[in-house]
Symmetry: D2
């Protein structure tokens, strides 16, 4: 006889109200500076600035979630609490268009010249976040090239400081955030995703991200919950 099993699979809508700040039960979630870090993916102009090449696709979701303000709240809380803040950008270089194996959307991004560090500044960091990113204690890792951190130094930078828990937010919810979630967890990190400090290209993509965050992550938090847990 199978045990009764209230599945995350079926309980996805329930899950998002039911998951407490702590992944495991009644106790409040506890982050420890020195073992936990805030990781933000792709906080760059092409996603966030009004003239950004991808802003038009994200703006409704960004506005509904209040993503930019929430990301700033997370950065402030991480700095105030003495946590490592690591930024993991997506930047394409001059030769990256040569990739013969590029995936569907990646090919479009390459062809449209998105996320480059050129005069247009689409790959540069969004101005409002610069005080936190330029802080000398912030770790800015090398750009990733597809959606996850498999080809940059994020995991090395975290592991080399004894960090095993990540509070994860940024752009794009179902692409780079989801890929970072998966890759970090395949490496044995505990990962908590901040569901209103992300942005997605439309509601279907946002719902896709939520479904996966809920099943995969150690926990799914609101910014308010994450900030509270970083304050301890």
């Amino acid at each position: 006889m199978k045990k009764p099993f209230v599945s995350l699979f079926l309980a996805v809508p329930l899950l998002f109200s039911a998951v407490p700040a702590s992944a495991g039960g009644g106790a409040a979630l506890h982050f420890e500076p020195g073992r936990s870090a805030l990781v933000v993916t792709d906080p760059q102009n092409d996603f966030l600035r009004e003239d950004g090449k991808l802003y038009g696709l994200l703006k409704d979701n960004l506005a509904r979630l209040d993503t930019v303000a929430n990301l700033e709240r997370l950065m402030q809380a991480a700095k105030a609490g003495g946590y490592l803040f690591a930024v993991d950008p997506l930047v394409y270089g001059a030769l990256d268009g040569q990739w013969t194996q590029a995936g569907a959307l990646q090919r479009q991004l390459l062809d449209m010249g998105a996320l480059r560090r050129d005069a247009a500044g689409g790959g540069d960091f969004y101005a409002r976040f610069k005080p936190y990113i330029d802080d000398p204690a912030t770790v800015v890792v090398a750009p990733h090239k597809l959606y996850g951190p498999e080809s940059n130094d994020l995991i090395y930078q975290l592991r080399s400081r004894g960090i095993d828990t990540v509070v994860l937010a940024g752009l794009v919810a179902n692409l780079c955030v989801d890929s970072h979630l998966r890759a970090l967890m395949e490496n044995g990190f505990r990962v908590y995703v901040v569901k209103d400090a992300v942005g997605a290209p439309g509601e279907a993509a946002y719902q896709a991200a939520l479904v996966n965050f809920g099943m995969i992550a150690n926990g799914v938090l609101s910014t308010a919950e994450a900030v509270a847990a970083l304050r301890r």
Copy 2:
């Protein structure tokens, strides 16, 4: 001035009708035996057999898509065409429950004793697929432990044979299939996902998988399109 840009981001519903069998345009998709492989994730009893621990969650989607028959069609086509067929199961061992960092659903799977190679046989291969899996030319890689192939020999087995293109199908659409898609592409593989040879725990999870497949993969195919492309 930005160039006009019909985005995959916005065009997701359109995308699934619009993407031809070939990723790139008018020409029909061309797989080459020796460079391409069929990879199937998790073709195991706990997902597919009526008494499987997770079958109840998947059965509606499996029935609607005709997943089992489609997976068998793919296996037949791969064998008939002389392609490598690689199987990548998810199996938990006796000590895996010790993982202190396990994610939400992974913790549930561990606690409920799913996907074990024990007397109940939930981790064993589904009987209908055994003729293809037991074929001496089939590569059965070591089990993965979370959802992707980061911790097993799948990528090594493919790369060591000169394979750079994967036709991907199996269980569970938004978890192991999506994680394999992402991890293989982070390694530079071309990946084509077969959208009706997967299975998901409900329509929301299936839609989540489709959104991500469409943006990330090199192409999203029906079984009929994949079989045709494997026949060449």
Copy 3:
């Protein structure tokens, strides 16, 4: 002006006498159960049993170092101290000979049928170690396929238990032990190699291993030093 610099590069011979049990200075080395594990590579018949396919190449070095007894001392100390003991074998399967990219020695090993789990038992664990390996608390990871743990679950098994420090020993010193050292450190583990609980195919290969262990590792220990540090 450059600071004076007594280099590990130049000080290799000195290093091996000078390195204390602790990596860092005067204090004795401190391993913590729960954060540290003993990892042994390739404790298998083809390397260690008199009729093993590779034994003839290793036997002088094994005898000089007293490797088998030292490995047993480490296993006993790990078990007595409550440390995780993880075994990482090298096993080739029936189809692995297909690898078109195999390296020089790997090709020879494949062609000679070494390290297989067949009737000859060359890939099976060496009998003297079985009481420790068969202990239900021992983690036996999936076989690696070249020399390092990149394609198996070793790192996942360690990270998922919160382990960040490895005491490393086993066969072959300059191949699998060195590759495990490098791969574990690339993942941010602290690694201490036990220099007399390894075995090499001749003195030149052993010296090669010592040179690299000394430069790369967090520390190089004798079995006596490692056992003392595991006892705390």
Copy 4:
């Protein structure tokens, strides 16, 4: 009965004279532009310029092998033959000294301020190589952080262009070159090391590198052999 076996293990000294330019037998080695790349690790001032922080340790070996001239010959041959040339530097950033898990030599390099992109220029590319490195067709990947390419985009850049074979040279023979050799081969690349276009901190370290190159790589070439094979 064991088959007769002339082992690479025992035949290491023999190996280096016996290995032909082709890995496998009588036929001359054949590189294909489009599938093969030249990868050079760490061609930087701290290793190669007279005032470099590590130059003193390497200079005898560099002089004996004529490493700088050989590296230039390889770069010329790669460019002339239409091969991808990828450069993989080792650079430390301002915060990298925080790594609590740093290995023995890595700790020394961090503490002495080696390989930084600062006014001293130790981490900058060696002037004689700049014409090849500054060529717009050259791929300069993100810096690695320990010794191998696990934490940068080298493998992604190669795989995304369909490259499966690497001609490998650079600094330091037994550290970054050996680590790149191992990591590339764990990913299924064929790797040919150019034994006189490397540099080591002393003869023991160079011999250590040669022992490992001979056992692990697909082939060990002289610069003359590599240049000939790149010319085809």
